[in-house]
Symmetry: C2
Subunit: 578 residues, 2 copies
């Protein structure tokens, strides 16, 4: 007999509405309301009416076929027939992560259509795909960070069945799948949680409004809401891990931080099902506590994005100095990021106008994800331009080589591997006129402050912003793009085949560089990378180069001397030393 439940501490009356049926629900002492509803089966649409108000979707709705304002649809997860028995994901230390946005990865923009591209990813050497948030958000297109139904895969992507089929197929093909989830806020449109209970608090502010209530009265139910959401994705959708959006905006003064509790819950699941699931934080804190084990006072997450890695690399390659790139730009920063994880490990940040971070001493590189680009770093630019639009092919190859050569987990963003020409713009599809206008204006003002001509800033609400961001797969077959794709494939193959490159010890990385001559050399065990960031040819010291075997070079005009190597402008070369 199906029982429908919902938590709501302050409601005086709640009715379950489904078709013609109206059932009064009963509250227990923990503020959970329940009713036996024989008619509400897999596939039934339903909603709740609190204190005779409007019919609202379920906070834990598993499916919103008609969007954020529509009824919820019941899903019996046990009905899906999984074919991935025995699946075990590769460990993070051996991972190549590929971040993709379901809506723009293919012209169809669906889970189903992603399946058609798995061959491409496998040939590239990807081990983990990471889906940008899929939880139901307002409208038909969007990045997903303004989701409001955290338990419901987006209707426009193909809903619960489509997502399960994607994960199941990935597993059969040997690919792990990570999902991006957002616990720091909910979106502005279709957010009905506040009608049910104290999910939010005004004690703390986030850049997106009121913070989620992780430590006030009733916070245990809010934490449970998030933790059971995480477990749901891992258990019912077979995800191999979660990427936790902006954990720095999760303010929690409890003795047990939400992230630690979440990690413990996932550890319990791992023990129960005898399979590893991973938690990867996006963290702007440069705080190693996030990934330290609980016995060392940490939260025990598996890894975190290394923002400093991206910024140091981007700033050296592009020479950009706007916004947070102001804090980077020296090869010294890049050298530091290779040998100690964080550039800002207690150092003064001019951009933040304060000291930032602390050393990640003793942590292995497999606790950090490094990338040359990701959705944020591209999409948060006014015109969503990828690195490919900013740099020469030689520079791009240097950037990619450093991602794969670093002691961190490499991550790519969709299309990066062929230097896709499409931008990745910020796009949304809010249905409320005022909200749409506010987002449009906000975006304009944000970049006007940087001196942009507001007319040149694409309108995030325009369909064209989304459409121009959809990958053009025909590019893959074009020579220019093929060349880059081969480079990425070779780098992935190198990392796979050379244990020195997967050595997790950050401290083992030896870096030399010249700020003036714009070159850098990275040695990990017996493999060595040397690159020339500048336009002029340079001769770089390189003991034992002549006898070393050449692994990969971005330029055929590399000139090997006895203990030195001549590098053309914007070039990179990798050797295996004897």
């Amino acid at each position: 007999m199906p029982i429908v439940k919902v938590w709501s501490p302050f409601a005086k009356e709640i009715e379950l509405i489904s078709g013609e049926e109206v059932l009064g629900m009963h509250r227990d002492e923990t503020a959970w309301w329940a009713v036996e509803a024989p008619g509400v089966q897999h596939g039934s649409d339903y909603g709740f009416r609190i204190d005779r108000g409007a019919v609202l979707p379920d906070p834990r709705s598993p499916w919103q076929p008609a969007g954020v304002h529509g009824l919820s649809r019941r899903v019996d997860h046990s009905l899906f027939e999984w074919s991935d028995a025995g699946w075990r994901p590769p460990p993070l230390g051996a991972a190549l992560i590929y971040e993709l946005h379901v809506g723009s990865f293919t012209p169809q923009g669906t889970f189903e259509a992603v399946i058609q591209k798995l061959d491409h990813l496998l040939e590239l050497g990807v081990t983990h795909i990471e889906l940008m948030p899929v939880a139901e958000f307002s409208g038909n297109r969007g990045w997903g960070y303004d989701g409001v139904d955290p338990y419901a895969p987006h209707h426009a992507y193909g809903g619960p069945a489509g997502l399960k089929k994607l994960v199941d197929t990935c597993h059969r093909r040997g690919l792990a799948v990570i999902l991006d989830v957002v616990y720091n806020h909910l979106g502005p449109s279709g957010n009905y949680l506040g009608s049910y209970g104290p999910y939010f608090t005004d004690r703390y502010k986030t850049p997106w409004g009121d913070a989620v209530n992780f430590d006030g009265p009733w916070s245990h139910e809010v934490r449970r809401y998030c933790i059971e959401n995480a477990l749901m994705w891992l258990r019912d959708y077979h995800f191999d891990g979660l990427r936790l959006d902006a954990v720095h905006a999760i303010i929690d003064t409890s003795a047990v931080h939400f992230l630690e509790e979440l990690a413990a819950a996932v550890a319990c699941l791992n023990a129960e099902v005898s399979r590893q699931h991973v938690l990867i934080a996006e963290s702007d804190l440069n705080d190693p506590r996030i990934v330290r084990p609980p016995e060392a006072g940490g939260y025990g997450l598996d890894a975190q994005w290394n923002e400093d890695f991206h910024h140091a690399l981007h700033a050296v390659l592009t020479r950009e100095q706007g916004g947070y790139y102001r804090d980077f730009g020296h090869i010294a920063d890049l050298a530091k990021v290779f040998s100690t994880a964080f550039v800002y490990d207690g150092r003064y940040s001019a951009h933040r106008e304060r000291y930032h971070g602390r050393p990640a001493t003793g942590l292995p590189g497999s606790r950090f994800v490094g990338c040359l680009q990701n959705h944020d770093q591209i999409g948060n630019r006014a015109t969503g331009d990828r690195t490919a639009g900013l740099l020469s092919p030689g520079q791009l190859k240097i950037g990619a080589a450093l991602v794969f050569f670093a002691p961190y987990i490499p991550m790519l963003f969709q299309g990066e591997e062929w230097a896709a020409s499409t931008p990745f713009l910020y796009f949304c599809d809010h249905q409320e006129k005022e909200l749409a206008e506010a987002v449009r204006q906000g975006r304009r003002e944000e970049f006007a402050a940087f001196g942009w001509d507001t007319d040149r800033i694409p309108d995030p609400q325009a369909a064209s912003s989304f459409e121009s961001s959809v990958l053009r797969w025909r590019e893959v077959r074009e020579d220019k793009h093929q060349d880059m794709l081969n480079w990425y494939r070779s780098l992935a193959e190198l990392r796979r085949s050379l244990p020195d490159l997967r050595d997790p010890r950050i401290e083992g990385t030896r870096v030399h560089y010249s700020e003036n001559e714009e070159w850098m050399t990275v040695q990990r065990g017996s493999v060595l990378l040397t690159c020339n960031f500048g336009p002029q040819a340079r001769t770089v010291e390189c003991a034992g180069c002549r006898e070393a075997s050449l692994l990969l070079a971005s330029d055929s005009n590399i000139d090997r001397g006895q203990d030195e190597v001549g590098l053309p402008g914007y070039s990179v070369v990798m050797f295996a030393l004897k």
Copy 2:
């Protein structure tokens, strides 16, 4: 040549004003303004004028002889002649702390007058006196938590010279001195810090308004302001430690928490001067991180108040169930607090409406301060009634015995030792009419919510509220009070003479109790306490009692059998087992 300095990042112009002198100050790249001011010597009055506004006191004013709105007075700390060379405080593990409020401890209400009472404290067995905040606050009387000049000892107490003399005399008499400091907020009246820079933030709220900016832009200077304040008290006033008010209201998401940075700074000072200074937190978090060492991911403070200890003891003795006492009241809670430090170590709190705390596993008892009463627990009652007004002498003796018998650092509140008849009311002396009225109303509403008749709630602004809180020292010589004083002296002596009672291991404490029969037995090593919380005589199991030596009993009618002891109602007895 005296240089006067002040930090102010957004000012366009700052002038130093002293007498007829007006000196333009010069800003360096760190936003510190400085000027050579030969005329501004020890004893000179001065202020700053920002952008041609009003003359304001120095944020680091060492003395505000005319109160919070007046000019600052320069103090050369090197001029004081200290006589405490070679002084070393006793360790916290051997401490008996005595909390006192300078204004109400004596009729004179001055630092000087405290000195007259040191004999009393020494005879009692006190090792550390803890002064409630002395930093300049608005008006002539107040608890001190609304201080606005954190560097300036209150003018009405005797200013810098008076305070130094008190500390110096204490040291010569063998007493350590701890100061209560407030870094979570500043008071509402005379708070000019915001005119100088971003000392506050609206990203977080505290119960007292905007939070202090510990992690935003320029927070390094705000942290430095607090840390240098702490070091100033330890270095220039020779304090032996600081009690940090309400650390749960210090919201800081930095990778290095303010408290950890503060503890590290004090550790550096300790190494420099080869003398131990202690940091004791008031923490409502039940988070052992506060007192764990940094190598275990902690902040490294020396100790914290154990709020659960107080609440569990108070609720069992008084049977009160209002407010947070709702979470306590069972002898089981008291038993738990004796054997694991926190009652709420992850347990659900009905008062907080959420789960609270985490276990303090492995921590020694000397990391926690336990008390039967303190300024807050008395003064935050509507009529400021002490435990002595709520309980019989027998019950008071049980309460005191448990404080001294616990594995925690015992702390007393002024007058507790003789069951003083005076209340400790909430009192303040705001000069602004509106503010005064707001505080008065706020207090009324707070207690009206608990069903109090608002006419019966003393007016915190009334001089009588303060005056009735001043200790009546003649009581000490009255029989009833003498009896209690002797009890406290005996308990202190017992703790001093029995190593088992100073054993810091919490786990070594064995507790038995009967909830129904209202008795509890605590054994620590070979010493044993047994008490009867109820009015009826009880027989309590007590193996080896007959052969044990009686250490102390609150009642002469204790009846010792072979393996049991008969306890009259409301009585406590302590034995040394053979």
